[in-house]
Symmetry: C2
Subunit: 334 residues, 2 copies
């Protein structure tokens, strides 16, 4: 009995308090969380960035991470994509009755490690337990707040013709790693999710140049969808070159086997930056010096032509329109 | 097909964008949300309060509200319980494939109405869709940020011997309304959930006195659990008088029938205030003038005796220890 989550762990009573104290507050150890009030209260100055994401990945453990690491990195990255320094996260669990406490512990451990790496504190939280069959083991929501430094103006609206498009590394690793774990496929080379907190990389990029106009992480819907969003929001055209887009051989192979296009596969440690042409080289250099940017590449540019549309020069030299993801990339991975 | 949520609505692609635009952004209409960036960015000054809660109520529609209204009120109330003026909310859905779009629309409508009443803006969000059977129709997470006014110092640690304990109205309405809907019980008197945003009431209370030491909303675990939390956090004893606690006859009746104790039944529009004795009357008067406080009552006081323990003088004149909820209040209602 005691090695599993029970409905009573979500009742708000004694078992809830014990779980919260022993499994969360003690482990995530910080004075704001330990206060155990209805909200965390702290001083903050300047422009605030605020974001949220829920994590419903299946399987919850996968090569390169688990749902806990993902829940920290995903929200940290959404803050970083606004140019903000990530500071504080909330952490809310919806747990299916019967989850092993040892699995929960492993997930919270990964949350702690990722939060430490990202330099964020988990300051407030919530735990709900639902009946068996009413959820898929565990869902996590994190919301985050960060501070946008003076002079940083990053938005999906800000791409301008002539800007360069930079990607920090290989695409499709996360989606294929998760899917292959679920389908029981193993890669001899050990393909892992790219799941990583990108706040540090963004800070280095902003040191190299304040002329970064857009940042976005190509998660669900992949690189293709993100580029379409940016083209539409900014009212510009985008041209990319397939030959410049880094993709691992294992990902190409798995995509061919499963009938996917790497351009639409989810990433969890990637970002697209759109920056003034004259600063692109400096930004690229700064990225290449960072562990999460060592495979960075300029993959294309922003055009005044065909606003709202993304076009790719293929490996064969022809051009094709790259549309937003239509329908679903089955099976669901996030 | 088109009147239900499909997996593709959560893919991050075209259907996701359409859903988000038409069902959320247009309806919740505000410039920060319409920006559609990874984070909402806004200026804020002072001490920030930050909180989160997930909502998994079953059934999702109940007398007096639905899961959407609850998701706004619950998080607004957690901010208010820190003395903060609620300002901005995030809104994250986990939706089970097959949910009727008409149900989603009704829920978002309730979110809009509750947010308008509470004076908060929904500025950022997320939507995930999971396979049929992987969730219970819809789960919602909201996180909130608010600003704590100068001179307000409210925490569960601050109760002092001699303080008065004030409750803003009848207990158990929410839990019994939800449960009776699920079990098909109807009350001729039309019992409804008390679900309400309490930020306005708290603002009036703070105008009446800054000597409010603790505020907490007795949700899961009910009044008994909340009082135990406060007694434990502040290291004080608490004595309440059963005769002073407002409970509706329908709730007493339903509790007798179902074997519950109203002290442990969830509320969603109630608060417990612990305040300096000399200001208690003023605070009570201010509460009674507000629609959400008209049945307010002083229900007890804080003692130096038996720290961490809550004792109740019963209707029969005897005293009994009121413990925190142990085990679960079955069936689960939140």
């Amino acid at each position: 009995m005691n090695d599993k989550i029970l409905l009573a762990h979500g009742s708000g009573g004694k078992l809830s308090h014990d779980l919260i104290k022993k499994s969360f507050v003690d482990l995530l150890d910080n004075p704001l969380l330990a206060q155990m009030d209805d909200s965390a209260v702290f001083d903050i100055k300047g422009r605030l960035a605020f974001t949220t994401d829920s994590y419903v990945v299946n399987p919850i453990f996968f090569p390169g991470g688990n749902i806990g690491k993902l829940a920290v990195c995903g929200t940290v990255n959404d803050l970083a994509m606004s140019g903000a320094e990530p500071r504080y996260l909330s952490l809310a669990f919806i747990i299916e009755e019967g989850l092993l406490l040892s699995d929960l512990k492993r997930i919270v451990g990964a949350i702690k490690t990722a939060a430490d790496e990202a330099g964020v504190k988990i300051v407030t939280g919530d735990t709900k337990v639902v009946n068996r069959g009413s959820a898929d083991r565990i869902f996590i929501n994190t919301a985050g707040v960060g501070v946008v430094p003076e002079g940083v103006e990053i938005s999906g609206n800000n791409a301008r013709p002539g800007d360069k498009i930079i990607l920090n590394g290989t695409i499709g690793d996360h989606g294929i790693a998760v899917l292959s774990k679920r389908e029981g496929i193993t890669f001899s080379t050990g393909l892992e999710s790219d799941c990583a907190p990108l706040g540090g990389l963004v800070a280095e990029m902003l040191k190299a140049s304040r002329n970064i106009h857009c940042l976005r992480d190509p998660t669900r819907g992949g690189l293709a969808t993100t580029l379409n969003e940016l083209a539409e929001q900014s009212g510009v055209g985008i041209r990319i070159e397939e030959a410049q887009i880094p993709v691992r051989d294992e990902v190409v192979g798995a995509c061919e086997m499963l009938g996917f296009d790497p351009l639409y596969v989810a990433n969890e440690g990637k970002l697209v930056a759109i920056a003034a042409s004259e600063d692109a080289e400096n930004i690229l250099k700064a990225m290449k010096r960072h562990p999460y940017g060592k495979n960075a590449a300029v993959i294309g540019e922003v055009l005044a032509d065909h606003p709202g549309r993304v076009v790719m020069k293929t490996l064969l030299g022809s051009s094709r329109v790259v549309d937003m993801l239509t329908g679903d990339l089955l099976p669901r991975i996030c």
